[in-house]
């Protein structure tokens, strides 16, 4: 790759984009006008909501006490309503049908739904009477006060409103404030009548003192908004240029011109990638600037009148610097993903369709840090995008020590994801099936005929990915509808049904329908005895590492109490089951069914990507995802990678089944033996130690395990894996 060619492609693409008026509008004009316009609209809407009077109906006025008054003719009493809301709460007194409260309420209920009233307040019969009784007892003295404690409470007034109507909700909030003040006034009146000083009910006032400096308060305010805005616009800003530079060029026929030039594919991708990054960053920065200015202006104009401390000032200079620094890896990641997706599209129109799935994947990662419970930790720093966002937030808020502590994991994860995205983009540009994808004749009939007539020995990559997604979807619905097991036999029955009906059956059907060589697809070739031996040794030695990894994950991402209780309950059920049944159902059966699915069908399809480790990791991620709890998912993904490598090198599913069955069996067996005398045996104590976090391996066991795994890895590495017959796999011609 020569930088000169990258620079040439970059310069041309930038010039080309700058000459596109639509692009300029999206990148430059839109951010500058969007927020002021949005602000104006919001002010108008807010004025409408704030100023619009809401009509409230009052039923049961005859049961209102004289003191303190709730209404004053056709309004709530002035003492109970905020000054600015006094003209907004007209009250309509509803005449009550004599002796028929239900009919009156039904009438009001219908009137609110029709929109005639926005809310209604119902004072129940006996309200004033009961209140007066309490006051009378309180006024009579200490003995009566004692008796007053045994009195029934005053019947509760009700507020009727309609959650389907915004106006009704606003009205209910206003009325609720009025009634709370009225209740406080009633308490004050009660105290007065019983000659108890008010200080008895309200002995002190809370004084709130904000110790935050203006600078840090501003930083905290901005830290919640700016990183999110920056990333969302970096993503959106990357997509439109990427679509134009890839799908657009395909459509216009200029991509082939460029591909025929001496520029290497990598140079072309980097040129386009840098252009996309430039526009992504520019869009994000312009949005940031425009939003910041608009928010400052509006906060000074409006919020500051009622809450002067809430007025936004300029964000700290340091915050801007950290944001711009974080923008580089973020826009690289988004640009790589956008270029890879856009390269797949045949036209601009098709390219735009791919924006939605990308947004759907990225949005939860960007919204996650908005939760107050999400803070910077080792666990959160390992989550792509979300980790970066919360890391930048820590910098903006001035928590430098904390931010620097997690700098390495955040940068490694973000850098790793960016590298994968760029690699994917380069792969797309080197794939002639992607670049010269012709318009295929679509239609269900053509597609079905293609699947049936042109079956291959092993599934295609798309079929493997589809199988993975299908298993996840089936599992999701199974979890939604399955009842939680109460007894061990329920649990074993549920696992058996899940494995046979929801894992094995779909995979075997797909194998029979989509491929013509189930032996190769499912890896049913007999292994060498030495391969099986290695599988046994690997499973036994990997177990301490898996235990340690599980503990590390639990420390990084602590479990909630409810989840922990659920897992304990399942663990108890497993321990109550007879050993043989438990091993057959929870060790052997999943080993067979899941290996046929993940290392059989899915891995044999994914290996046609031509990237060994990508195939192993993707199949392992699907395998991990099939587990219910996040902590199990991480550990299962690690185990999936080990088993995937085993299958890749031995070309047989049987070592994988052996590994899986022994691994599950050990996990189940150890939890049962943990409560027996076996833990006092010297061998046990050499290998395991019982801690507050459960069973963990000793350091010596971990060292030995790593050593043995390396030896097994070396054996597998030199093992000449057979080549699957993809080349001669095509039939049906």
């Amino acid at each position: 790759m020569t930088l000169r060619n990258v620079g040439l492609v970059f310069a041309r693409e930038v010039r080309d984009q700058l000459r596109d008026r639509r692009m300029l509008f999206t990148v430059v004009v839109l951010p500058l006008v969007l927020y002021p316009l949005m602000g104006t609209v919001m002010v108008q809407v807010a004025q409408f909501l704030r100023d619009h009077p809401t009509r409230v109906c009052l039923i049961g006025t005859k049961d209102l006490p004289d003191e303190p008054p709730l209404v004053d003719r056709d309004r709530f009493h002035l003492d109970l309503v905020d000054a600015e809301e006094r003209h907004l709460l007209p009250v309509v007194i509803q005449p009550q049908q004599p002796g028929n409260i239900a009919a009156s309420l039904a009438e009001v209920d219908a009137a609110i739904r029709r929109g005639e009233y926005d809310a209604a307040v119902y004072i129940p019969p006996g309200f004033a009477e009961q209140l007066e009784e309490i006051r009378r007892r309180l006024a009579e003295g200490a003995d009566s006060q004692q008796a007053a404690l045994s009195l029934k409470s005053v019947p509760s007034p009700s507020i009727y409103f309609n959650t389907a109507s915004d106006r009704s909700q606003v009205a209910s909030q206003r009325v609720e404030r009025v009634l709370r003040r009225w209740r406080e006034a009633i308490v004050r009146e009660n105290l007065r009548k019983s000659r108890v000083p008010q200080v008895a009910a309200e002995p002190f006032q809370l004084q709130l003192t904000d110790v935050a400096e203006v600078r840090t308060r501003r930083a905290a305010q901005w830290s919640k908004i700016l990183p999110f805005v920056l990333l969302i616009w970096a993503l959106t800003g990357a997509f439109y240029p990427a679509v134009d530079l890839c799908a657009g060029e395909k459509e216009r026929g200029t991509l082939e011109t460029l591909l025929a030039s001496p520029a290497e594919r990598t140079e072309i991708v980097w040129g386009k990638l840098l252009t996309t990054m430039l526009f992504s960053s520019s869009t994000a920065v312009l949005h940031l600037v425009s939003l910041t200015i608009t928010m400052i202006v509006f906060s000074r104009q409006f919020a500051a009148q009622s809450h002067p401390t809430m007025a936004l000032g300029m964000p700290p200079v340091g915050a801007v610097g950290w944001l711009l620094l974080a923008l580089i890896p973020a826009s690289l990641l988004f640009s790589g993903l956008a270029i890879a997706l856009a390269a797949f599209a045949r036209s601009t129109k098709e390219g735009h369709y791919y924006l939605t799935p990308l947004l759907l994947v990225m949005l939860p990662l960007m919204l996650l840090p908005m939760s107050p419970a999400f803070s910077l930790s080792l666990g959160s720093s390992l989550i792509p995008v979300a980790g970066l966002l919360v890391w930048v937030r820590a910098f903006i808020e001035g928590h430098y020590g904390e931010a620097l502590r997690y700098a390495l994991p955040v940068l490694l994860v973000t850098g790793g994801c960016s590298w994968l995205a760029v690699r994917w983009a380069v792969d797309q540009f080197c794939n002639e099936n992607v670049l010269f994808r012709e318009g295929e004749r679509g239609g269900l009939r053509v597609w079905t005929r293609h699947l049936m007539q042109h079956r291959r020995a092993t599934p295609t990559v798309a079929e493997a990915l589809f199988a993975g997604v299908l298993l996840l979807v089936i599992r999701f619905f199974a979890m939604m509808f399955a009842a939680a097991p109460q007894q061990w036999d329920d649990l074993l029955r549920m696992v058996t049904i899940q494995q046979l009906a929801m894992v094995a059956t779909p995979i075997l059907l797909m194998t029979l329908i989509l491929t013509n060589n189930p032996i190769y697809t499912l890896g049913l070739k007999l292994p060498r005895p030495s391969d099986l031996l290695v599988a046994v040794v690997l499973a036994v030695t990997a177990h301490p590492i898996v235990l340690w990894l599980g503990s590390a994950v639990r420390q990084m991402f602590p479990m909630g109490d409810e989840l922990q209780a659920q897992l304990e309950s399942v663990g108890n059920m497993i321990n109550q089951a007879p050993l043989v049944w438990m091993l057959l159902t929870m060790a052997l059966l999943p080993a067979v069914c899941e290996e046929l699915a993940f290392r059989g069908f899915i891995l044999s399809g994914l290996r046609q990507m031509g990237h060994k480790w990508a195939a192993i990791v993707i199949s392992a991620i699907f395998f991990g995802w099939m587990h219910s709890v996040f902590h199990q998912q991480v550990v299962a993904t690690f185990v999936g990678i080990l088993i995937g490598y085993l299958v890749f090198q031995t070309n047989s599913i049987f070592p994988a089944v052996t590994f899986h069955a022994i691994h599950n069996g050990l996990a189940l067996g150890l939890s049962r033996w943990e409560s027996t005398q076996i833990i006092k045996q010297p061998l046990w104590q050499l290998l395991y130690r019982t801690t507050s976090d459960g069973l963990l391996p000793t350091t010596s066991a971990l060292v030995v395990a790593v050593g043995v795994i390396i030896v097994c890895g070396l054996y597998l590495y030199q093992r000449p894996g057979d080549v699957l017959p993809e080349a001669e796999a095509v039939t049906g011609t």
Binding site: D16, A260, E264, E432
Partner: protein, 264 residues
């Protein structure tokens, strides 16, 4: 100059299954010669030329351009070939001058030489009046001139024209054919793909006729006409293709019958 040996290309198609776009195609094209690549639509001409341009990789066989293998040394091949095709358009948002200059720099031509070369090309191809016109504002003929200038800017020894006259009016097509002849006279090796027989008749020294990815005949035009007793290339082409179609239909019928017998 261009050597193609037993070249094959297979790709998957949803509706038709695996397609053999090229089946063992072989030919040699020499310097100072216009080598015609003839065939009906779907014959595999574009696939073959895309392989020569290193845009696609062959499934089997080999091809060399000016001594460089298209699989082993694709970058060298691209430096020694000029590629003009109906699929290689010009940029809408760049002027003729900017487009040619961009590719000249990508080909590694020095700035001073590039300017001289571009002045020469723009004069020779009569493009001086469209020098500052954006691609989007050009007619089809103008765009084709820019494409030719772009392909010639690095003065390659081999030039590929794939359906280059497609969409051109008579005047523009004649001008293009005259340019191709001039280039031949300068000693370039030219591969000229077309399905218009009149063009091939006027232009080509030797031709190869492709049909469904296979070579039907190859040779000098006069020799081929003598060999098949035809005086017109179009008639010869039509006869060769017509001879193949019944044969192919018979083969297909035989295959279906054999599959039926095998299935019992």
């Amino acid at each position: 100059m261009v050597e193609v040996e037993q070249l094959g290309k297979t790709y998957d198609d949803w509706a038709r299954g695996p397609i053999q776009a090229l089946r063992g195609v072989s030919f040699h094209a020499l310097p100072g010669e216009i080598f015609g690549l003839l065939g009906p639509n779907g014959a595999g001409k574009t696939t073959l030329l895309r392989i020569l341009g290193t845009l696609l990789r062959p499934s089997s066989g080999r091809a060399r351009v000016n001594g460089y293998d298209v699989v082993v040394e694709p970058s060298q091949v691209r430096h020694h070939i000029g590629f003009v095709s109906a699929n290689t358009a010009v940029y809408d948002r760049m002027t003729a001058w900017e487009t040619v200059e961009y590719f000249g720099r990508l080909y590694g031509v020095e700035r001073s030489q590039l300017r001289e070369r571009m002045e020469l090309l723009f004069r020779r191809l009569k493009m001086t009046d469209i020098r500052d016109v954006l691609g989007a504002k050009m007619s089809t003929g103008m765009k084709q001139k820019v494409s030719i200038a772009r392909a010639l800017v690095h003065d390659p020894p081999v030039l590929v024209f794939d359906e280059a006259t497609s969409g051109l009016d008579v005047l523009a097509a004649r001008a293009l054919l005259a340019t191709v002849r001039e280039l031949r006279d300068q000693g370039k090796c030219i591969i000229f793909s077309t399905h218009v027989m009149r063009e091939a008749e006027k232009l080509c020294d030797r031709v190869v006729i492709l049909h469904r990815g296979s070579v039907l005949v190859e040779g000098r035009l006069n020799d081929l006409m003598q060999q098949f007793g035809e005086s017109d290339l179009e008639e010869l082409f039509f006869r060769l293709i017509s001879d193949q179609e019944p044969q192919r239909e018979a083969d297909e019928r035989g295959k279906v019958f054999a599959e039926g017998v095998a299935a019992g």
